[in-house]
Subunit: 224 residues, 2 copies
């Protein structure tokens, strides 16, 4: 479902070029459950943003469902992001002026759901992440772990074929983390593809394959 | 150094009152190293913000160095925050238009350091957190764990008597986490007081006392 070959991604900072992903190649099959690990700054979020069609790359190829992503226009990319991919950002990226419920409904508005079904579905996932009594709170009226769970609920609400989760349990206590991980396991059992960035070994052990990045390249790739 | 008695803190949401900290009492001696744990939403960040003189409370007393904090005016509170307390926020709160170096220098500007000494000291702490080759990057040009480390460096830069760290390793890989924790150990050995919020047991085990919050009250308080 994801085929990346010889990918290079650099940033320009000041007048220098900073290579971040270097000749990276990666294949992920439909329905796989992959953990992506590596030191802080090694390129995990950069790779996730490229996979999630949120960022471009410099050279190499990235085929999503056999379609070359760099050849798609903005509308086509937005379409993929809205319908095929659920993204949990490392920094949550919630809309500050909207409640938890409204934030979670947003992908369903893009997907064209009617108001009643949207509300029901959003409430259902907010219950799954334990936030039913915080639905009306805005992000600044929520704790760190509650905001993280709103971001999780928003990514799950339209049952995406591909779930990309960038450190989804970083702000959660162990009990809440376990609840989220069993939610992910259910999603995996339903045939969806999951890539989760984590720096916690016991979270990574819940996946089926661990890929370790080091300095912009794949250092290890192990089935569990 | 920190004496809290029968503290109550509530938020107003819509037209309802939501109690968050309930008749909370806590004593921390000078030089102690305390870990604060508890479920997501139990009130840890709220308590940290009150201890750090960033937020008010409704009833009860809070004495910092035997001074009743609720009787201080804004200038006096700012003075305490600038000179006595270093705060690492759960959401980092970096200034987006300034580089890592400029963000870390900021407390020294408030403390009246001259330009040369400020720059040297800021670079020294940025080295301690492993960011010397990212000093000129702005926050949006840094990874999640790099931003977290800028927030850590900024809190340490004027060697505060009290270090308040709200989930300081949430975005860090285990190697980088260990480096930060041994930095904290050195600060503790130097006689400073540390309160660290964490949801990771092995991080909490590095402190000398673990306080567990549950639903806005202290549930357990154990010396290690
Ligand atoms: N401005 C606010 N208005 C209303 N409720 C709030 C506000 N800020 C926080 N809360 C609520 O107060 C409770 C405690 O929040 P707090 O941020 O202290 O939790 P926490 O223990 O730090 O959680 P976490 O581990 O998720 O960071 C939460 O249930 C949250 O929804
Ligand atoms: N806009 C940018 N301009 C310049 N450099 C950048 C930019 N964004 C990221 N970087 C650099 O790219 C590298 C990889 O960043 P990335 O966010 O992918 O790391 P990461 O593996 O997710 O780290 P973490 O575990 O800390 O979240 C980092 O060294 C960072 O400083
Ligand atoms: Mg990252
Ligand atoms: Mg918190």
């Amino acid at each position: 479902i994801i085929q990346i070959d010889n990918l290079n991604k650099s940033y320009i900072i000041g007048n220098q070029i900073l290579p971040v992903l270097k000749e990276l190649s990666l294949t992920v099959q439909k329905g796989e459950y992959v953990a992506l690990m590596g030191p802080s700054g090694s390129g995990k979020s950069t790779l996730m943003n490229i996979i999630g069609c949120l960022d471009s790359f410099n050279t190499g190829t990235y085929k999503l469902n056999q379609i070359e992503v760099s050849k798609l226009n903005d509308n086509e990319l937005a379409e993929i992001r809205n319908h095929q991919i659920g993204f949990i950002f490392q920094t949550f990226n919630l809309l500050p002026r909207y409640s938890a419920l409204e934030n979670v409904e947003l992908p369903l508005i893009y997907a064209g759901w009617n108001k009643k079904n949207r509300r029901e579905r959003a409430i259902e996932v907010l219950k799954q992440v334990g936030l039913e009594d915080r639905m009306t709170h805005k992000p600044n009226e929520l704790s760190g772990g509650q905001r993280q769970r709103v971001a999780i609920a928003r990514a799950l609400v339209n049952n995406p074929a591909i779930l990309l989760a960038d450190e989804p349990t970083g702000n959660l206590d162990s009990k809440t983390s376990e609840e989220i991980m069993s939610l992910f396991e259910t999603i995996h059992q339903n045939g969806n593809t999951i890539i989760i960035v984590t720096h916690e070994e016991d979270i990574a052990q819940k996946s089926r394959r661990i890929i370790r990045l080091l300095d912009g390249k794949i250092d290890k790739d192990t089935l569990i």
